[in-house]
Structures are given as C-alpha cells and as structure tokens.
C-alpha cells in the first residue's frame, strides 16, 4: 500500500482547493490578462488581475490542469488578493524557493497561507512545475520575467 505515500503530496487542504477552487472565474474589470501553458502536459492557466494603485484589488483564474496546478492557483489567489505588487512578487519568490527546497523562514512561510502546504511537492520533482505555473503567470503579469 505505498499509495499511503501519496498523502504526503495530496494533503486534505490541497484536495479541498482543487475540488472547490477559490477565485476560479474571469474578472469583469481585469487590467492584466495572461495565458501560460505547461508544454509537457498541455495544462493551461488564464490569470486575470485587477490592479488599482499598485494593489491587486481582484484576481481570478480559469483553465484546466491537475490537482496540484489547480489547488496551487486557488491558494495563490488567496495569498495575494489585496496585497501590493511588491509583496505579491515577494510571495512568488518565497514560493519558488520553497518548492525548490531552498531555505526559508517560518515567518515567510506563514505569509503564503495555505500555499505553504505545497512544500510537500519538492519530494515529487516531476510535479514541481505543476505547482509553479500559476506563480509564473503572476510574476509575468506583474512585469517580472520568471527565470526558473
């Protein structure tokens, strides 16, 4: 029964987010729109932001993907809604470092909210990209070229 090992990846919170994703809709007043694809599996994310005075006033996503990519997008929208552009980009970097297994402080992880639970994905290297697709989309739509 080595499927028990799956519990490390698919925690209850992750399954909840993928089954009932938050902010999964398009925005009426989007100021930025971006579509990113994961070429290895064909997953697609359309990310929409409504920026106001350097703040993410609203965020939504559509598209299709696996449990990890869907839950990651859902948790990301929770983490960055209402935050400034700089804070959101900072969170994106914390997330990227976390899943790559780099060191991070407890305080930083707390800022990610539910998304911190995806640290489990680093034990499944083939799935790291599933979790980072939405964060790449965020970085790109905030004018930052993601380099990883």
């Amino acid at each position: 029964m080595s499927l028990m090992g799956l519990n490390n990846l698919y925690r209850e919170v992750i399954l909840d987010h993928s089954q009932n994703p938050h902010h999964k809709h398009s925005l009426a007043n989007a100021t930025q729109k971006i579509t990113l694809k994961n070429p290895t599996c064909g997953d697609v994310i359309n990310l929409e932001l409504e920026l106001q005075d350097d703040t993410i006033k609203d965020i939504g996503f559509t598209g299709e993907g696996c449990t990890i990519s869907q839950s990651s997008a859902s948790m990301m929208t929770d983490a960055v809604i209402g935050k400034s552009v700089a804070d959101s980009l900072n969170l994106a970097h914390i997330f990227s470092d976390m899943v790559m297994g780099k060191k991070h402080s407890e305080a930083d992880l707390q800022k990610l909210g539910d998304a911190a639970i995806l640290s489990s994905v680093m034990k499944f290297p083939a799935r790291i990209k599933c979790s980072t697709l939405c964060w790449w989309a965020l970085r790109k739509s905030l004018g930052e070229e993601a380099d990883d």
């Binding site: 029964m1 080595s2 499927l3 799956l6 399954l15 599996c41 064909g42 993907g65 449990t67 990890i68």
Partner: protein, 409 residues
C-alpha cells in the same frame, strides 16, 4: 507463453529494482524501451576493444570498427527486408530521419500549391517537419481523419490524397491509439497519384514484422531506442533511386567525393547522408538488439503483446470510471493503451501509479492535434513490450483501483 517471457524479463537488469518501495513495473516502452544485457555488453565490448573512427582509419582498430558498423547496417537491412544495404541510412532516430526527408526530398520537390497529406494521429515528429515545409513552400498540409472507432479513416484517405499530393506521411503504428495503419494500401493510393509515401515506423518496427519491399514504402523511419537499442541511433530506409537523386542532408566529413575551393561532389549511398562522426556504438547496439529480437522471433513478440492486450483491455473497458481511447477491439490494438480515469488529471494518476512502482506516461504524447481531436488535454498511457507479463497488467489494474479509492472517484 508467459513462462518464456517471464525469463526474458531477467535479461533486463534495470527491471530488477524497487521504485518507491515497490517492484518496478515498466509500462512506458512506447516512449523508450529498456535494454537487455546483451545490448549493454555489446556497447561495453565495443568501447573496451574496438573503438576507432570508421571508414577513415587504416589501422586494425579502425577496420574492426568499420566492419562492425557496416555489419550492423546489414542486420537492419535483413530485419526490414530492404533490397540493398545502401538503402539503410543511420540517423539519430526517427525524428532525425523524418527531418532528413522533409529537408531534402521535400525541399526539392514541394512547390506552391502542392499538397502534403498526413493524418491527425501523427506524432509531432511526423507533423511539424511537414507543417513547416508547407509553410516555407506555400503548400497545403492536409489531414486524414479518424473513424468513430479511433482508426485511420481509409475512405477519407482516398479523398484527401489527390493528383496535387506530392508526399503522404503516415505513422505505421500510433503512439496513442494503439492502431496499426494499412501502410501498404496507403502506398498504393499515394503511388496511384504519383506521390511518395513516408512511413513513421517508430512504434511498429519494435513490435511487428516490417517488410519495406512488401509495404512498397518510399521512405521508412524508425528509432533504435524503442527497440532495445541505445538512444541516439535510428534508421532511414529509402528506395535507392530516390536517395541517389536527393541532395545531402548535412555537409562535412566522410560524405564527400572531392572537395575543391569552390565546389564539391558527394560520395555514394549510404554515406552521402552520414556526415561527420557517426554513432558507431549505437549502430552496433542496434545490431545486437536485432539479434536479440530475432532469437525470440518478432512474431512471438507480437503474439505476446496481443495476448497481454486481450487480457487487459476488456478489463479496462469494463470499468465505468475509465475512458479508453482508440479501438475497443483488442484485435485492432497493439501494446499501447491510452486512457483516463474520469474526473482525474492524468498527471495525478501517473504520480499515484508511480507510488505503486508503475511507470506510465501522462501527457499529450507529442500529439497535440490528436488530443484536440479526442477532446482531451492529456491521457495516461500504458505501453507493453516483450518483458511485460500478465502480472504487470494485474498490478496496473489493482493500482488503478487504489488510485480511484484515494481520490474518491
């Protein structure tokens, strides 16, 4: 039969290991096959005893390497029943072979308004070279569709191939749907319109008897690594008259006759298409693999895979939670089975199966237009080869059941 094939498994050292605490069940041979000890030994022997550059060395090692390299070519010639060994060109793999044809024969013969006909089930390697050629030449790329059963629509083929068609390029066997296409009939149709036919045999040569003369193909491409050989070696078969008339693919060492300051002439087939230092060890490994397959018998390999599919496919079809792609008749299926667990993404399924030690492919299998046609983003694919057994099929079925339970499907 299973007993004999149970023993075959022991010839593949990589299969004797645990993955995530479970015995490895390798079900991704359509992506690449594992290698028997005999092939691995062949590579080691070459590098320990005979390594030298071929065709240009006067000394003994060079002669030995050349002899083994050309010997491998003759093994390929006999394996696919080519008329002459000079019709067998070594390449990096099927992709390289297909690009070779597109950028030489294709480049020379396709003109604005001409048609190139492929099928909707093509792997990207037999799609993009033609698509890009069509764009360069302002030619028209046309697709043969599928029947409701997920087979190539031969009626549509007869419609799509016309007097404007110059090249027909079709997979001999699909890497997603598990079907074998009637290349012989397609060749007949193509030739009746004075078009040439290029067959992508990457999924066929490892699993069934291929006779290029009987099929009457003009070009036939395949890879070594899907048929027990190392990666980086492949074959392009071409009819001699066509190959002789074609310009070289790449320029460099060993493909020349005379080189002057302002012009050059080319050497004979097959070396005209083998510029630069070749993958000699790879070719020798391919020769070893052919010896290994011949010893078992390629028809036996085919029968073994058919037996596995006949066992597994009906069980998968019985499961209401599964969607199985390609024909549902096991007799029309080779060892490639694509499916999805309804409501679950194939990547999640593949990760779950991996935790049970089972290697399957999840994704679009380099066939995005086909995925679109099937109305899916991606699928899970289990593919079987001579070293797989019914026990492997049972483990797959059990792991699918546990995966459904885990994700509460």
């Amino acid at each position: 039969m299973d007993n004999k094939f149970q023993k075959i498994r022991n010839d593949f050292p990589i299969l004797n290991q645990k993955v995530n605490g479970e015995p490895l069940v390798y079900l991704d041979s359509a992506a690449t096959s594992q290698k028997p000890q005999a092939v691995i030994d062949g590579l080691i022997h070459y590098y320990q005893n005979d390594n030298a550059n071929v065709h240009r060395s006067v000394y003994t090692l060079g002669q030995r390497a050349t002899e083994e390299y050309e010997n491998a070519r003759q093994k390929v010639q006999r394996f696919i029943n080519a008329k002459e060994d000079k019709e067998v060109i070594f390449t990096k793999g099927a992709t390289d072979s297909l690009n070779l044809v597109a950028s030489t024969y294709g480049e020379e013969h396709i003109k604005a308004g001409d048609e190139i006909v492929i099928s909707i089930m093509e792997h990207h390697s037999n799609l993009i070279p033609w698509q890009q050629l069509a764009i360069r030449k302002q030619a028209k790329l046309k697709y043969i569709g599928l029947t409701k059963n997920g087979e190539l629509d031969m009626k549509d083929a007869a419609q799509q191939i016309t007097d404007k068609t110059k090249i027909v390029a079709i997979a001999h066997a699909s890497n997603v749907l598990g079907v074998t296409n009637d290349i012989k009939e397609l060749a007949r149709i193509a030739h009746s319109h004075n078009a040439v036919i290029v067959a992508d045999g990457a999924q066929a040569v490892p699993h069934q008897k291929v006779d290029v003369q009987d099929l009457d193909v003009d070009f036939y491409a395949f890879s070594g690594h899907k048929m027990l050989s190392p990666m980086g070696i492949g074959v392009l078969y071409g009819k001699k008259a066509l190959l002789e008339a074609m310009r070289p693919y790449q320029y460099g060492g060993e493909m020349i006759d005379f080189v002057e300051k302002q012009k050059s002439t080319w050497t004979d087939l097959p070396w005209k298409f083998e510029a630069g230092t070749q993958n000699v060890a790879g070719a020798i490994g391919l020769g070893e693999a052919i010896d290994y397959l011949n010893e078992i018998g390629i028809d036996q390999v085919k029968a073994h895979e058919e037996e596995l599919v006949e066992y597994l496919l009906p069980k998968l079809l019985q499961d209401q939670d599964l969607e199985v792609y390609g024909p549902h008749d096991p007799k029309k299926h080779n060892g490639v089975i694509s499916f999805n667990i309804k409501g679950l993404h194939p990547h999640d399924v593949a990760t779950a199966l991996d935790m049970e030690g089972i290697s399957v492919r999840a994704g679009h299998h380099c066939a995005q237009p086909l995925m679109k046609e099937l109305g899916v983003v991606a699928t899970v694919r289990a593919s079987f080869y001579l070293y797989n057994t019914k026990a492997d099929a049972d483990k797959l079925l059990r792991a699918i059941a546990e995966t459904k339970e885990f994700f509460k499907v």
